[in-house]
Point group: C2
Chain length 196, copies 2
């Protein structure tokens, strides 16, 4: 016996979300059957609401419900932090270490995925740097191949305008154990060593 | 910055499904924003459809869309396999090793969760055993404390009626490595050893 058709459709939807495999999707679908009707209605409505109400901030590309996101509405700064996804903003805000504005690329340059500089939210960054008289651009893309390539490209684009372009530091994570650190990270940590 | 309110509601719904933590729920919610409107509509609709269309089989308690489930509709057997959840039926059917009918308990006896014999689908099993002239009842609850307790209880309930009550065999999983088998399983495997 396979699953019922209606259950299969729902399982299929779940598998299209990132990080959910078939078994997990199956478990989620069966959980919804177990829950009451009110939950199903709330869940379905919240999916539609999110899709209907959440827009991109006209300035930085972050998610918002109005014209501008809450950060662009309330902060003024001459430092912009460039991130790949809106979720990265949440992580950075939680750290409490940055109080400037952000710019969301919505992706990184990745030739393998056929994503070039024109496929990410870059043009508006160049305009912002000029119009908002930005002093520093911190590039906070992930420290992987695509993230580094994107950072280099943005740096080459912005440096001629005389703006300071920086990159998040790489090295050992705090609280980590040397024994379990991978070789590349360890190599970077040695190269970037600092005087104490 | 926290998440937007609409996004938070959706994340909250996701965390109520089993096996999905906050980080995963967040990722799923953001994935829905990235996907197109058609997907959101299909997803929302399939949640409502599942809740509206999926019922319990009047005979065995499995999920179905009509009066009886597909197995009860098409099979006649004097052997019943008793399972905890409808999902267990799918696993057993995939094994291809059983061709009788099923009975779904929708839970197991678990004093810690305040679940007694009256809280699971047991009464109809007793009636079925009598009315369908059942020859054998295979108890396929999980081989854990609650599953074993439930199996013992069902056996004590059905044996006086003269029906054969059996339990799935326990021992080493096929393809496993002795080195990694836990002590209890190994002990059971030695106790239940068979002549070759």
């Amino acid at each position: 016996m396979d699953n019922l058709k209606t259950i299969n459709t729902l399982i299929n939807c779940f598998t299209k979300l990132s990080g959910i495999g078939y078994k997990m999707a199956e478990r989620c679908a069966y959980k919804i059957i177990e829950k009451d009707e009110a939950f199903a209605k709330e869940f379905a409505q919240s999916i539609l609401d999110v899709k209907r109400n959440v827009k991109l901030c006209a300035k930085c590309g972050n998610f918002c419900e109005g014209e501008l996101c809450r950060i662009c509405e309330t902060r003024k700064s001459d430092v912009i932090c460039v991130v790949k996804d809106p979720r990265d903003i949440i992580s950075l805000e939680k750290s409490g270490a940055f109080s400037g504005t952000y710019h969301v690329l919505h992706g990184v340059i990745s030739p393998l995925d056929k994503k070039g500089p024109n496929d990410i939210n870059l043009k508006s960054l160049v305009l912002r740097v000029r119009d908002e008289k930005i002093r520093e651009v911190i590039i906070a893309t992930n420290p992987d191949v695509e993230g580094e390539a994107t950072a280099s490209y943005i740096a080459s684009l912005l440096k001629p305008a005389g703006v300071l372009v920086t990159r998040l530091a790489t090295g050992l994570s705090l609280g980590t154990n040397l024994e379990y650190a991978d070789g590349i990270t360890l190599g970077v940590a040695i190269t970037n060593r600092v005087e104490i």
